[in-house]
Structure formats: C-alpha cells, structure tokens
C-alpha cells in the first residue's frame, strides 16, 4: 500500500490510489466494520472516552442537584463556559455539513472519502452542543418551555428573541444533519447486510438498510433526495451560525454589538470544523490504513480551506479592533483595551497566536504536505477557536458599561468537568461509529473507481450526469 500517492496519472488519480476496483473498495471499507477482531487501541481509546462520559454525567448530576450555583457564574458574567462550549461545538459541526453539502454542490470529488465521518462528526458535535444550552437553563427538565406548544397558561415563547431563533435553528440543524447522514448510509447498510457473516448483524444491518437493493429507479430518487438535502443544508448551515451570532450581536454589550458578527462567526465555525476534521482524519487514516482513500491531496485541500477561513477570521479580529478605535466610542475602546490588557489578556494574545499566526505556516507547501505539522496545527486551531469564544463571551461580559458592576469570572471544576466530559461524549460516539458503521461512503467511493472495462469512467458524483460514451 502506498502511503504517498505518486505523480498524478489522471485528473482524479489523487483522490483514490491507483489499482482499486469496485470490489477492493467495497471489501476494504466493509472489512473494518465486519472484522470480528476489535483492535486493542480501540478498546483503550473507548475506555478513556467512556471514563470522560462518566465525568460528564457526574458534572450534570452536580448541576441538577445544586443548580447553576455549582458554576462560577456571577452577575455580570451570566454566560461563560456553557455558552462558550455550545458555540465551539456547534461551530465544529459546520465543517461536516460544508464537506457533505457545499462541496457536493460544487462537485468537489475529493470530498467523497471524508464526507461520511465529517457528517458523523457534525452529528456528534451538535449533540454535544445541544447539551449546553439545555443545562444552562438551570432547570433542564423544563426545556420543553422553549418549544411553542398549547399550554394552560396560553403562553408562547418570545418569537422576537434570537434565543428562540436558536432553538429552531439548532434543532432543525440537528434533524437535517441526522437525515443527511442516515440517507447517505442506506446503500452502505445494504452492502454490510450482504457482506455480514453472522445472522444477528445481517438482521441489524438489514433493518437499517430498509430493503435497499440498488434498483435504478430507487437510485434516481435517492440522488434527487440527496442533492436536494445538500441544497437545503447549505443555506441552513449559514443560517445556524448566523443565528448563533445574533445571540450576541443583538445584545448591546460592547464587543458583541457588531454587524461583522454573522460572517465572522460562520467563517470561524468552518475554520474550527476543518481543524477538527484534520484532527480526526489524520490518526484515523493512519490507524486503519486508509491512506489510499484519504490521500495527501485531501489533507492539502483541507489545509487550504483552513488557511482561507483563517484569513477571514483574522480579518474579523482586525475589523473588530479597527471599529473599536474608529467609532470613537469610549465603551468599544475600553473593550479592546480590556481584551489586550485586562484580566483575560492571556486568552486574547493566545487566541491571536493560535488563530492568526499559526495558520500562516500553511502558505508553505512543505508544511501542507507534512502530516504531522498539519495535525499539530489543527490542534492549535481547535484551542484557538475555543479561546476566541471565551474572549467574546467572558471578556465582554465581565466589563460592561458601569465599573461598579464589573466582576471577574473563574470556572469551577464542575464547568471544566462538563467541558472535558463533552469531549469524552464526542469521542465515545465517534469510537462506536468507526467500529459499527462504514466511516467512508462505500457507494460513493465506487463511483471514483475506473470502470471494469479499464477506462476511467466519468465521475458520477451525485447530481452529475454521467457521460454516455459506452452506448453501443
């Protein structure tokens, strides 16, 4: 197995290593799932993740028993770790949708081998994100009050509030991400059903495949549905983070009340999401020997997106600082100086180091093709994007208009437990996913394989009309 693809033999030879056929692609991906042997590393990784899930549960239990007093919140800092984590997780999810939907619409062939686990990442990140606003309610068992439903008090939620828009945006996003992921899985479930050796797994995958048999009539509607879902998910993903940014931008706190927020947040979301895709893809391709399918070209392309979105984010920081100065508004100026020199100065400067300086390394092709460097950079960007949300939420709240109401926020161990625990939940779900479901879309990989006639078939990326050269 070649680890680095050599010189391109055709326009697409880099998205899948040469020599693969329909059957080798199918067998290689299914065997990861169907093999009876579970790797020892998997058990180890899952055990660590599962232990962190226990930390999450303990922190939730503490919260439910004591209330939000278990956290370090105060007035004015009523939003802190909970909201920072919410925005961080939901942002991570956005890269998955970008890869599966937007790159599909732009017919970017290289997305094929990374879209499935990027979608899974989205789903699990949204699950983690959804936890935080619910827990932040203080009385999560009353979360159904967020939803409009007929009730004896004849009350409705406040439809004019961005916080309610958030409820609709995030729940729609979670639902559509799940649909998109599951629809993509149906043909692969059928493949697993037909390959599974043991009866129980045949039944399980058979139920999940819902009787898929690859009929041409079915494929036609399937592709239409998939393409329409992509078309719907594309504006959705932009709207979700826009609405998330409204949570802040509609408020009048200095450092929040800015028109740059929606585009700046969307770019930041994609930035952090691609960093997370790299963080996950690099070890996965190594451990499961998937270098043939997730090639250096994939990593390079993701690095380029990381650089581009990183530059947009850097522009956002620049404009924030510029407007604080140019507006001549004493509170905005105070906000900027507070970020640079106030109690959280370290967060601001570390964030600039992580998010603005580090990605500049990606201009160099040497770094873009170095797997280790990409992995390290992706980790740094993940940290930086978390800090960015921390700076926006906590720094701005801790010093608003009246110095008499200023206060400093420090997290308690229960808040840290929730954050670390949510990472554990994310990883645990991901471990289960790579063990029981195909982490690469098998049927879409088949479309990348040169035909059995020996010719390279025109790629039938979904939604693309295949050339009809083989008609007799």
């Amino acid at each position: 197995m070649s680890t680095t693809p050599e010189l391109p033999k055709g326009p697409r030879s880099e998205v899948i290593a040469p020599g693969h056929t329909l059957s080798t692609v199918t067998d290689k991906i299914t065997q990861i799932v169907l093999s009876r042997r579970t790797r020892r590393g998997w058990y180890l990784g899952f055990a660590i993740a599962f232990a962190l899930v226990m930390v999450l549960l303990a922190s939730i239990a503490k919260l439910l028993i004591v209330g939000t007093g278990a956290w370090g919140l105060n007035i004015p800092v009523g939003w802190a770790f909970d909201i920072v984590n919410f925005v961080w997780w939901i942002g991570i999810g956005h890269a998955g949708t970008l890869i599966s939907a937007i790159l599909l619409l732009f017919r970017q062939q290289w997305r094929t081998s990374i879209n499935r686990f990027a979608e899974a990442m989205t789903l699990f990140a949204v699950a983690c994100a959804g936890l935080f606003p619910l827990l932040h309610l203080g009385r999560p068992w009353l979360a159904y009050w967020l939803v409009p439903y007929p009730n004896t008090m004849s009350l409705w939620p406040q439809f004019r509030s961005p916080l309610l828009w958030d409820v609709f945006a995030v729940s729609t996003y979670g639902t559509v991400s799940l649909l998109f992921w599951y629809v993509g899985l149906i043909p692969d479930m059928a493949t697993l059903r037909d390959r599974a050796k043991s009866r129980p797994w045949k039944v399980v995958y058979g139920i999940l495949a819902m009787g898929w048999r690859g009929a041409a009539r079915h494929w036609e509607r399937y592709e239409t549905a998939y393409l329409l879902l992509a078309g719907l998910a594309t504006p959705l993903v932009v709207s979700v983070h826009t609405v998330v940014s409204f949570d802040f931008a509609v408020g009048i706190i200095p450092g929040w009340h800015a028109t740059i927020f929606p585009p700046y947040f969307v770019a930041g979301a994609i930035y952090s999401g691609f960093a997370m895709v790299l963080t996950l893809a690099i070890p996965l391709r190594k451990i499961y020997g998937l270098q043939d399918f997730i090639t250096l070209r994939h990593l390079q392309n993701m690095a380029k997106i990381l650089l581009a979105t990183g530059l947009i984010v850097a522009y956002g920081y620049g404009i924030e600082a510029f407007c604080a100065w140019y507006s001549g508004n004493v509170f905005e100026e105070g906000m900027l100086l507070n970020r640079m020199r106030g109690p959280y100065w370290w967060a601001y400067w570390t964030l600039l180091l992580c998010n603005v300086l580090t990605p500049q390394l990606l201009w160099s092709k040497r770094i873009r093709t170095s797997v280790l460097a990409l992995f390290v950079i992706s980790l740094i960007v993940n940290v930086g994007m978390w800090l960015e949300r921390f700076v926006i939420v906590v720094t701005s709240l801790s010093r608003d208009f009246l110095p008499s109401s200023w206060d400093v926020y420090t997290p308690t161990r229960w808040e840290i437990g929730l954050f670390v625990g949510s990472i554990g939940l994310f990883l645990a779900l991901l471990f289960l996913f790579i063990r029981f479901l195909p982490m690469i879309s098998i049927f879409e990989m088949r479309t990348l394989v040169p035909d059995s006639t020996g010719e390279v078939r025109t790629p039938v990326a979904i939604g693309q009309v295949q050339a009809t050269e083989d008609r007799p």
Partner: protein, 183 residues
Amino acid sequence: MSAPHRHAQRCFGVLGEYASGPELLRAIEDGKRHGFTKMEAYTPFPMHDVSHALGHENDLPKYVLAGGILGAIVGFGMQYYASVHHYPVNVGGRPLNSWPSFIPVTFELTILFAALTAVLGMLALNGLPRPHHPVFSVPGFELATRDRFFLLVPHYDPLFDPDEAARVLRAGPTLSVHEVPHP
C-alpha cells in the same frame, strides 16, 4: 389456462447478471428493442445512463417544493397567530406583526419541512422500507451491492414470458440468467 400463463404465475421475473455498466446498458438496449417496457436494473452505485435508458420519471422535487412552502406557511402562520391574534402584547405601540423578526423561524421551518419531505418522500416513492424482495432469493444477488450489475424483466411487463425473456437476456453479454421465483 395455457401452460405459459401458469408458468408466469410462479415466476416473478427473469434476472440477468452483468460484469460492468456498459454491458448492462447493452442488455437494456436489447430488452428495449424486444419491446420490454417495465425493466428494472440493479447497480452498485447510481448510474444516470441506466435510469435514463430505462426512462424513469421522478416526481420528488415537486413534493419537496410543496413541503418547503408548507413549512414556510406553518412557520410564519404560527408566529403571526401567536403575536397578533392569540396573545397580542403591546410593547410601546410597536407593530404586533413584526415580520422581520419572524423570518429566522420561518426559514428554519421551511428547511425542516422540505428536508423531511425529501427523505420520507424518497422512501415512500421507492416503497421502502421493504425488508424482503423476490430478487433477494437469486443466488449471487448480494453482489449487487458490491460490483455486479443486474437487469430484471419483471412478470408485470406486458410482453413478459419467462422463456422469451431468458432467451433475450442470454443473447446479450450476460454472466448468468436466473428465474426469480414468486415469494
């Protein structure tokens, strides 16, 4: 009753197996030339040539559009009803129908309804879930989800006759031809 008819009762259709897409396409052309109109193909990945050759039509986009429009009406209607009729709150004389702030929820519900219609509509029009289908009983059909291509001449084709269909398929570039038994 004549013998072929009884035969047709027991037989769901005739299934040909092919090693590649182009061979399947040739077989479809052969079948069409013979006059079969209800043929169905099974392929490991979506092939536009094949569904084009078989002449399938697809109504799904219309349903999705309708779903999206319904979502928009439900989304805006709910907020309008709540804010203007059911529980109007006068905040300093501001308009009750403050439509710009109703747009985000309207938009999200449009997407939600359209997406649900796309997925549920696709499954419903495809007749899924359907755990069993007669073609599954053909040995080797499990390769349809790996690297083989199949063409079915079903019993409901007006010109269907098992022997005739098998003869037409055998004349083409087929690997094997099977009768699909009726369940």
